[in-house]
Amino acid sequence: MDADDVRRAIWRMAHEIIEHNHGLDNLVLVGLQTGGVGMAEAFAEALGEIDVRTPPVGTLDVALYRDDIGIRPVLPEAVTDIPVDLDGAIVVLVDDVLFTGRTIRAALDALNAYGRPRSVQLAVMVDRGHRELPIRPDYVGKNLPTRRDEVVNVSPEGVDLGEVVKS
């Protein structure tokens, strides 16, 4: 996917979010640190142009809720910022890549600390497969089959596949 494909996918998913929720009432976008934050802002911009209102955008760092603490280095990258009460809200979690599903599990856990949303939905730019938990996205930019050891890089300029090497 190149920059235009990414932009078109954002707009398509934005339309789907509005259609699915019959508008933007009580809708809050929550971008996951760090890859989902820019995407959540892009969603807010697109939703604001399609609808009259721009939904509030929050950011969530799930490091402290991960199940691999103590197994790998897990440090919070940025301060979580949830600007509104999530009780009764429709939360759309936004991330760049959906892989094992463990980040989303941690995010669902973390959201509990901020309230009890009416529903939680998931929007991702790339679903690369290899799920290890029963989690599925509601809005997908692109289904991208990958090998486990590959790396998917998402930015506004496009989606790239790569691999990890020793430096």
């Binding site: 760092d61 301060v79 600390a113 901020y114 998917v152 496009g158 989606v159 691999e163 990890v164 020793k166």
Partner: protein, 351 residues
Amino acid sequence: MNHLLSITDLTRADIEQLHKLTDSFAEVSRRSIPKVPALRGKNVVWLFYEDSTRTRLSFEQAAKRLSADTMTFSVGSSSVKKGESLRDTVLTIEAMGVDAIVVRHASAGVPWQIAGWLDDRVSVVNAGDGWHEHPTQALLDSYTIREERGSLEGMHIGIVGDVKHSRVARSDVLAFTALGAEVTLVAPPTLLPPSLVGWPVSVSHDLDAVLPSLDVVYLLRMQNERMTEHLVPSLREYTARYGITLRRVDALRDDALVMHPGPMNRGVEISAEVADLPRSVIVDQVRNGVATRMAVLYLLLGQGVEKVLGAEVSELEVVLDPDRARSGPDNQAQGDAKAGQRSSSGAGVRA
């Protein structure tokens, strides 16, 4: 990082990383449910051979907000009364299966001694050893200044009072100067250490001369028990020369902060009115203490080392191959331009 024993073990980058981490834990403390599951199943024991209220409660609060389990070892009701040695006590605690020991002891160096006896798996945190160091206090003090003023770079900080007997002063001097601040110790000669060789500080005996140039005036507790050693003629004379009163506050710059590690002796080193001024960030220090100790415990207990391709993640980088994910003839030119592009090691390795 396996232990936190001294500020000297930390580089400026380490302290700044801890401060950044503390920001995240301060946010946790502000939530309606201020608890995260990060250290579930970890066991922390408080080994306090010396009295403490705020440090122990602050560590306790930090551990609980991280969902760690805690045990308290208080000397008064333990086998120490029956003559058990420090080493046997520590090895007994270790055998019960603990992940960290937070120790306070009246003798300098005890935390190092304990760290040497223990398996590498157990972390030791120095919560005050004699007159030597109190590293978490220095981390929370520097965090509080950073929170109020953005940075310590170029700040002039006066540490006033009983420097000689103060572990807080020793750790603070190290942390403040490591972060680029200039420190002046202000005290009567009897309350300064016999030698200041190697200390990156200047010294003054005249508080009124120093006050106008200070960004932070950091007051140490005038320990009443020192009076028996006749180091100052009387508390009233100490207050007259080194106590912060409303009159002396007027000499401070408008944005200068007043700090104190507690417990305060109102009316001795700080007057009651000054302690309640908005510029006194003493309550903020206590609040930041919890977040700072969360960061320290998390950094010591929550970290693992992941190996990919037999190397640590920091030694890896990602080589992108754009042709594989971008399809269509239009992208070919852009794809070629980006071939071989390298991005930072963390990108995309995250699940």
